[in-house]
């Protein structure tokens, strides 16, 4: 493992190799055609460097490139960087950049763009750039095609963040000296990616056209890509069925329709391409509440929930029970040996009895509230299931509903809740996606999806900090396994399921799923079969 990180140079011809791979699995790609891609809601900007909302990333990834890409197994592959070399102490990352890459306005791409993007934009304005690149001291540019990232401490977890969706590279000559947030290029971006920005008809669509000078030869295959915003789910479904749309991801149709869509002649439903998101659903306790001080109560609730039922019937097969706080998609870090808490009502009742919670005259042992995550209707079904499942072991659950901003405020700013359940993204590294939920230092009011449960264990904090600066991946994996086992024993959060998403595409569209990104990929390799 260490050697892999010490010196792994990509083959200069990997781009060709990638294409060949695609050929092996599919018929020969055909050039030309227009594809319609639906994104909801409409993005407020096209700079994913400033706003990492999925609707922004979904569009920006077609226009911009990252330093790296990820293959289906989430291994790094070349992007704007052809190869990289990490020093033995893990503090210096040297990047050999791809030659002859041009911005959409014809200017050459150089190491100055990398330096500018990381130092001036990501570290200052990116929603999580300050923390992911906390140890990035400076970026040197010894030559136009060499960038050297100097870290004050090893930051291996950051490596897979230098990718297209997460940290796309901006053109310095357009943004230098301005506040990137108010730069008009945010609404008419210039990138190096496979598609050039043409026009944004606000409220309707964004037109992108083929970049003929794209660095991957022959790509992109499509002449045009139209990004459309169809806000109403039923209207979206109608547009799919009338053949107006070629592709949309992140559950573009209600999950209740999944089965029917799988049977439709012209449409295909795919669930791959979401490993880089690594969605995982948590049931969270507010550990400040006196009701959840006894770990037996938390464990009893874990035993009372049938996680397989949730995955199969509430998430319609897009959920898989998980026994760790780390999503299974983070393959290296996920500890598959953890036993978890099997669905066992007797065990649950026994634990509750031991905790001294006897059933009262009304048949209930305790009353708790549950704030329903208001993101989509799936959470409503989940909440109703939880109410029913916990009632069976004598816990009466009061459901509370509110809109998304109100829920965020209640949970993360006011901590005025007892339990909630929601999906978080584990991202490409648990240090980026999982740590925030369990790190005692990350109990910060007013920051959504931070440590709201109030869980703080000095031992866990110590392990997390050590893992953050460990110079090898193996050390990080060992430390993270310890974190997982403590968290699963103390259970401030019950991990319910790994979560996948559905992508719906028209069968004429080919080439989906050749990398680890799915709809978050560049679409350079998508083509229309005529």
């Amino acid at each position: 493992m260490a050697r892999f990180f010490r010196n792994l140079a990509f083959l200069a011809a990997t781009a060709v190799a990638l294409t060949t791979n695609a050929f092996a699995a599919n018929p020969t790609p055909q050039r030309g055609g227009t594809a319609s891609f639906v994104v909801v809601p409409e993005p407020p900007t096209l700079l994913a460097q400033l706003n990492t909302a999925s609707q922004v990333q979904l569009v920006a990834t077609k226009i911009f490139d990252g330093l790296f890409n990820l293959d289906k197994d989430l291994n790094l592959t070349p992007g704007l960087a052809l190869s990289y070399k990490l020093s033995e102490d893990g503090k210096t990352l040297s990047l050999q950049l791809r030659p002859n890459v041009k911005w959409h306005d014809g200017k050459p791409f150089t190491s100055e763009d990398v330096k500018y993007t990381l130092e001036e934009v990501i570290k200052k304005y990116h929603p999580r750039g300050r923390s992911i690149l906390a140890n990035l001291a400076s970026v040197d540019t010894p030559s136009p095609l060499t960038a050297v990232l100097n870290f004050s401490a090893p930051s291996l977890y950051a490596l897979k963040s230098f990718t297209g969706p997460e940290m796309p590279i901006l053109p310095k000559h357009i943004f230098d000296g301005s506040d990137p947030r108010s730069n008009p290029a945010g609404n008419a971006p210039i990138g190096t990616g496979p598609f050039k920005f043409v026009e944004w008809k606000k409220g309707q669509e964004i037109l992108l056209e083929r970049n003929p000078d794209y660095w991957a030869s022959g790509m992109p295959y499509l002449d045009r890509l139209i990004v459309r915003f169809i806000p109403d789910p039923s209207a979206r479904a109608a547009a799919f069925e009338s053949g107006e749309i070629d592709i949309a991801g992140m559950n573009p149709i209600p999950l209740t329709d999944l089965k029917r869509y799988r049977g439709l002649k012209d449409l295909e439903v795919r669930t791959d391409g979401y490993d880089a998101l690594a969605g995982i659903m948590y049931f969270e306790f507010n550990t400040r509440s006196p009701k959840f001080q006894d770990v037996r109560v938390r464990k009893a609730i874990a035993h009372a929930i049938n996680r397989k039922f949730i995955g199969d019937n509430i998430w319609f097969g897009l959920g898989n029970p998980v026994n760790s706080i780390v999503p299974q998609a983070s393959k290296e870090f996920y500890d598959s040996k953890l036993a978890g808490y099997a669905y066992d009502k007797k065990k649950a009742e026994q634990l509750l009895d031991e905790a001294g919670l006897k059933k009262g005259a009304n048949g209930f042992r305790m009353e708790i509230t549950h704030d329903v995550m208001p993101f989509d209707e799936n959470y409503q079904r989940l909440a109703r299931y939880l109410k029913q499942a916990l009632a069976e072991v004598g816990i009466n659950v009061q459901l509370r509903n509110q809109d998304f901003p109100s829920w965020l405020k209640r949970v993360y700013t006011e901590n005025d809740y007892e339990t909630s359940a929601y999906i978080i993204f584990g991202m490409t590294d648990p240090a980026v996606g999982v740590q925030r939920m369990f790190w005692g230092k990350n109990i910060i009011k007013g920051v959504p999806f931070s440590n709201a449960s109030g869980y703080a264990n000095p031992k866990v904090d110590e392990l997390l900090v050590a893992a953050g600066v460990a110079p090898t991946n193996q050390q990080r994996i060992d430390l993270w396994k310890q974190v997982q086992s403590i968290a699963m024993e103390e259970l401030p959060i019950i991990p319910l399921a790994n979560i996948n998403y559905a992508t719906v595409l028209h069968k004429r569209l080919q080439g989906y799923g050749s990398d680890g990104y799915g709809v978050f990929g560049s679409f350079a390799d998508l083509w229309i079969s005529k």
């Binding site: 227009t34 319609s36 809601p41 409409e42 407020p44 900007t45 706003n51 990492t52 909302a53 999925s54 609707q55 304005y125 990116h126 929603p127 999580r128 750039g129 300050r130 923390s131 947030r181 108010s182 945010g186 609404n187 008809k201 606000k202 409220g203 309707q204 669509e205 037109l207 045009r224 139209i226 459309r228 915003f229 169809i230 806000p231 109403d232 039923s234 209207a235 109608a238 547009a239 069925e241 009338s242 107006e244 809109d403 998304f404 901003p405 109100s406 829920w407 965020l408 405020k409 209640r410 993360y412 993204f425 991202m427 996606g433 925030r436 007013g446 920051v447 959504p448 999806f449 931070s450």
Partner: protein
């Protein structure tokens, strides 16, 4: 002569100021803010990000200070800046008000014209088959939920037959100009305008029918008839003109409601209008944008009301004389 005008302008200014303050207070009383939403959507965000944004957006200031800033900007005709969209609010509104006015205007005026004609015809042939047909149609139109009607039209005419486009204002990817563009927009306008207009058509038809019937039973109609005037002259010159007053009142009242209805219709048909922008601004807590849209909509409603006041005097000269 000048005095009533000044009084009126003064009253208007007070009304507009009150609207702005109420808008501000209602919007700011909702829990959560734009930074919560931005950071929530971001998936993972750190404390530095949220703190910096709250400071930049001015959300770290006490509410009275924010209100003071808002009102003083408004006095300079500045609707503020949408931090979410990184654009001045006025530009965002300017880009969307056209499609909304086109949709609401077509729906309301179409409904008004067709509704009054249908209602008048029904009244003139009371208890005939035509009257029953129109009345039943109007009743159904009155009772049909707007979103349901929209979806049914989409399913029947767009998905099923492919006769009319179901979403957007222009054909996706189209770069048409001139006449071709106009025809394209009109084709896209049909379904949303019918969806939004049907309810108002029904309202006007029922109201016009009742008012015309009422007018037809008045003494002056008998006088006109006994003068020997032709049936249609009596109907249109005497009965309808008197029956129009309640219709005009209803029209001005419903303009605001139609703007609200446009939110639903614009969402169903992906129409790039103000309603959708407002709806998104609510769920995204984009305070400045939402205040701007509400403020502009209030101005529009006030303008329509003033116009109706003027129309009264055209329809009924007695009002002018009284004033």
């Amino acid at each position: 002569m000048l005095r009533p005008v000044i009084t009126k302008v003064f009253r208007l200014a007070i009304t507009i100021g009150m609207i702005a303050i109420i808008n501000f207070l209602v919007i700011h009383s909702t829990p959560g803010d734009a930074v919560d939403v931005l950071a929530g959507e971001a998936g993972v965000a750190d404390a530095g990000y949220t703190a910096e944004l709250r400071q930049k957006f001015g959300l770290d200031q006490p509410l009275p200070v924010q209100l003071f800033h808002y009102m003083s900007r408004l006095l300079q005709f500045d609707l503020g800046y949408s931090f979410r969209h990184n654009m001045p609010v006025i530009d965002l509104i300017a880009g969307r008000i056209g499609p909304t006015m086109l949709l609401v205007g077509t729906a309301l005026f179409g409904a008004l014209l067709l509704g009054v004609v249908a209602g008048t015809v029904a009244a003139s042939r009371q208890n005939s088959l035509l009257d029953y047909t129109i009345s039943v149609l109007a009743l159904v139109g009155y009772a049909t939920p707007m979103f349901w009607l929209g979806l049914m039209l989409v399913v029947l005419l767009a998905v099923g037959g492919g006769i009319l486009p179901a979403s957007g204002m222009t054909t996706s990817g189209s770069t048409a100009t001139g006449l071709a563009y106009l025809i394209d927009v009109l084709r896209h306008l049909v379904l949303p305008a019918v969806t939004l207009g049907l309810f108002y058509f029904a309202t006007y038809a029922r109201l016009a029918r009742a008012s015309v019937l009422d007018a037809l039973s008045q003494d002056y109609i008998r006088t006109a008839r006994s003068k020997g005037l032709a049936g249609h002259t009596v109907l249109f010159r005497h009965a309808l003109r008197n029956a129009l007053l309640p219709v005009a009142t209803m029209f001005s009242l419903q303009f605001g409601a139609a703007l609200g209805g446009a939110v639903v219709v614009e969402a169903v048909f992906a129409w790039p209008g103000l309603g959708r922008l407002a709806f998104e601004a609510i769920s995204q807590r984009d305070y400045n944008l939402l205040q701007g849209i509400l403020f502009m909509s209030s101005l529009l409603v006030i303008a329509i009301n003033l116009l109706t006041d003027f129309l009264y005097t055209v329809i009924d000269p007695r009002i002018r004389k009284r004033a």
